[in-house]
């Protein structure tokens, strides 16, 4: 049976790799999310904070690649997620040509701990007493380059550094490169490993919530909480995937990026990004079953997210469920949009939409916030993300490929 041409050229997700403190498979993570579990807890060392960190993370349990020993935590996390995604897509040891495999990494801070270690040693000890092997790993492109090198990805190796909007922007770029035929299979990967200096800075800026103070979309929240995580998605044209016998789990539709440097402006910018992403997906707000928001517990971000969604969904008769998985996993910066995309895929393909853990007093009313897990009937999910620098990004994930 031949599929409609649009279904062949639609960009499908054929592999998912995910590691969070709540689990190391998509099913395990989503079960935990729908059960309302959270990984956010007080962490003691070396910088005390409330957040979410992998306990005893051992990369070699998931992947064993050359050079793993010298890579930093974010890079190791990304390598693990990439391998899991490639295995899930049936692309490991499959003979798939490396010349057709690309890697796009969402990484704003992924190199930073190596850079801090290297630069601090240069200043304190001088170049002659500093490990030269750290140098090429200290640049922003290093984690993505290491992942591409580890899996022989020769079609492209690209790093986008757009803060919290990075991974949705990276997905958008991945869709474009796959759709245009520049890459046949593209791993879009993001990882967020905690870095003490960033935790310390955020604490001193008053951005981090204390124990029991982290809530999302809730007026009682007193800040955000950082959470480690990594996730990778494999994108392919649906027709290509079908040809090699791979299953399309879901389809990535339109993605749009906008910007404003002001708080008020970001509400409008995020609304605009959502509208553009829906238009590119030939989808209307009425057709949305789920919104996975990038709200993170700070008053500023939660207000922007909620008011943008109110503006988008105000006239919609059947309000989609609004969820925010950061309430369970914390703010994972570069990885957050991809985590939401993975959660959306699980929800649209038979799972339940996850509740917003602890939400009791909404900061902004008028949205159908999910406080209990529920199934989603309509087949489209909207995902939103923002950066602290003003970038806004939105993306649509669908159960079925769009047919013109």
């Amino acid at each position: 049976m031949s599929a409609h041409p649009a279904q062949n050229s639609a960009v499908a997700v054929t592999g998912v790799g995910i590691l969070t403190p709540l689990g190391d498979t998509l099913a395990a993570v989503c079960d935990a999310l729908t059960a309302g579990r959270t990984s956010i807890a007080p962490e003691e060392s070396p910088v005390p904070f409330v957040g979410s960190r992998f306990a005893d993370f051992d990369a070699t349990r998931y992947a064993n690649v050359r050079g793993m020993r010298v890579y930093n935590r974010t890079t190791r996390l990304g390598i693990c997620a990439t391998r899991l995604a490639l295995v899930d897509a049936g692309l490991i040891d499959s003979g798939f040509p490396g010349e057709r495999l690309g890697v796009i990494m969402a990484s704003t801070f992924g190199h930073l701990d190596t850079l801090i270690e290297y630069d601090r040693s240069l200043v304190a000890n001088g170049p002659s007493r500093t490990n030269p092997a750290l140098m090429p790993l200290a640049i922003p492109s290093a984690p993505g380059a290491a992942i591409a090198l580890s899996f022989g990805a020769k079609a492209c190796s690209i790093t986008l550094a757009d803060g919290g909007a990075s991974s949705l922007d990276a997905l958008g770029l991945g869709v474009r490169l796959v759709r245009d035929g520049r890459v046949s299979a593209c791993v879009v990967v993001a990882a967020y490993g905690l870095i003490d200096e960033l935790i310390l800075s955020a604490k001193r800026a008053g951005q981090l919530a204390g124990a029991g103070e982290f809530l999302v979309f809730d007026e009682r929240s007193r800040g955000t909480a950082f959470g480690e995580a990594t996730v990778a998605l494999v994108l392919e044209r649906a027709g290509d995937a079908r040809e090699r016998g791979a299953r399309s789990k879901a389809f990535v539709g339109g993605q749009a990026s906008t910007f404003s440097s002001s708080h008020e402006g970001m509400i409008e910018a995020l609304t605009s990004a959502c509208r553009q992403a829906l238009r590119l997906s030939a989808t209307t707000p009425d057709e949305l079953g789920l919104v996975l928001s990038g709200a993170n517990g700070t008053q500023a971000t939660d207000t922007i997210e909620a008011r943008a969604l109110l503006s988008l969904l105000g006239g919609v008769s059947r309000q989609p469920a609004v969820a925010a998985i950061k309430s369970s996993l914390g703010e994972s910066e570069d990885a957050s949009g991809l985590l939401s995309a993975a959660s959306a895929i699980a929800t649209l393909t038979g799972g339940l939409a996850p509740p917003i853990v602890g939400l009791g007093q909404p900061l902004v009313t008028g949205l159908r916030y999910l406080t209990q897990a529920e199934p989603v009937e309509r087949g489209h999910a909207l995902i939103t993300a923002t950066s602290r620098t003003g970038a806004c990004s939105a993306l649509v994930v669908s159960r079925e490929a769009h047919v013109d």
Binding site: Y118, P136, I139, A145, R176, E197, S201, S257, T258
Partner: protein, 406 residues
């Protein structure tokens, strides 16, 4: 249906100055602007050699970006180039023609100086040196966001960190966003400044030239760095015509690949470059015979020179020996993430003047190559299309094809 994408503005801040005339004069002179660096120091290295930028006094760093211009120098340089680019395009900040416009900025090291600033204080104060503003200052996206804030952009604002191919990659992504109708106007380019990592790291790897950068010369001895920024304004053809913009050139395609060979070394046979070049040609319906100038990555290292020349021979065949080739890195230094963007501007100028600029310091071309390197002075040519090559640490290759204005 892809739309045509033209270049309507260029802004460059390099060791040659802040105007296109000064850049073109420097490139044509065949002389190197490499000298002793005075605005930056590294531990244990007494004298740094590089091509240093003088930021015009009339181009201040906004206090809102950072109170410390030294540590925010990359951002400052990028802003100066962006201001020049939109002025050159006949646009003003917040102009109606910029509605929905965005920017893609590339950088290799981005905000590394913010880490250098922290390191200097950490040595004395330990963890007390980490202040509440560090997280925001070290966020590399700030480079693109600062441009967007100042120019008044509301479209895609992306920071591409793809090592030293970042500048070309930025032009490529921006090209796609205009070509597919996402926006009518995009700024694209790159910026980088001197950092500890660049000087100390390359010194320890013995990749830094002890003399001056001499691309493709048999006596080459490594890279010489420069700081700088290059920004171009990309615009949909009809949009540019409708506002009466002066069209400088057309971006007709790009190609990308990755070596996946080594953390620092390029693939010796140039196979990655070949794939990027072939993709650029194929996606733009350009034949190898249309290329009148190859603006080479040309860093002055043996591995780069060999791989790049092998790739050109593989793609162009016998014609490789006759296509004019030069590298601008021996004039203004290797500007890392800005290099591809400034080279794009060099291609625009070459097309406008129908002259290929020479490679400074190239005195004795490596006899193994047998290529048509332009040396000494500019070469008059009938030029319709240029291929701009770039490569980065980790193996990322991006080639951009730039043609005469339609």
């Amino acid at each position: 249906m892809k739309r045509r994408v033209v270049i309507t503005g260029c802004g460059a801040l390099t060791a040659a100055g802040s105007t296109l005339d000064s850049l073109w004069a420097a490139l044509l002179s065949g002389k190197s602007l490499l000298g002793t660096v005075t605005n930056f120091a590294c531990p244990e290295i007494d004298v740094l050699s590089g091509a240093e930028v003088q930021i015009p006094g009339s181009d201040p760093l906004p206090e809102s970006v950072d109170s410390d211009a030294f540590r925010a120098r990359c951002c400052h340089i990028a802003l100066v180039a962006a201001r020049s680019a939109i002025a050159h395009a006949g646009l003003a900040p917040h102009a109606q023609a910029l509605a929905g416009a965005g920017v893609v900025l590339g950088s290799t090291m981005a905000e590394e100086r913010q880490v250098g600033d922290l390191s200097a204080r950490w040595v004395k104060q330990g963890s007390d040196s980490v202040d509440g503003g560090f997280l925001d200052r070290v966020d590399n996206h700030k480079l693109a966001a600062s441009i967007a804030s100042e120019i008044g952009l509301s479209g895609p604002v992306l920071l591409n960190a793809t090592a030293c191919s970042s500048g070309n990659a930025a032009v490529a992504w921006a090209f796609d966003l205009v070509a597919d109708g996402t926006t009518d106007v995009m700024l694209a380019g790159g910026a980088d400044t001197f950092t500890h990592v660049v000087f100390c790291g390359f010194t320890r790897m013995s990749a830094l030239s002890k003399t001056v950068c001499k691309p493709f010369d048999k006596n080459r001895d490594g890279v010489s760095f420069g700081e700088g920024a290059g920004i171009v304004v990309l615009e949909e053809l009809e949009h540019a015509k409708a506002r009466g913009a002066h069209i400088l050139a057309e971006v007709v395609g790009y190609g990308l690949s990755n070596d996946a060979y080594h953390v620092t070394a390029p693939e010796p046979n140039g196979a990655g470059f070949v794939r990027a070049m072939e993709q650029a040609l194929a996606t733009s319906d350009t034949s190898p015979g249309d290329i009148g100038y190859v603006c080479a990555h040309g860093t002055g290292t043996l591995y780069n020179d060999q791989g790049e020349v092998r790739a050109m021979k593989a793609v162009f065949g016998d014609a490789a020996a006759t296509i004019p080739i030069s590298s601008i890195k021996s004039t203004i230094g290797h500007t890392n993430g800005a290099a591809g963007a400034i080279a794009t501007i060099a291609c625009v100028l070459a097309l406008a003047h129908q002259v290929v600029p020479p490679t400074a310091n190239l005195v004795e071309p490596d006899p193994e190559f047998g290529m048509s390197f332009v040396t000494g002075e500019g070469r008059k040519v009938a030029l319709s299309a240029c291929l701009n090559m770039s490569a980065g640490f980790g193996g990322s290759n991006v080639c951009v094809l730039i043609a005469r204005a339609p």
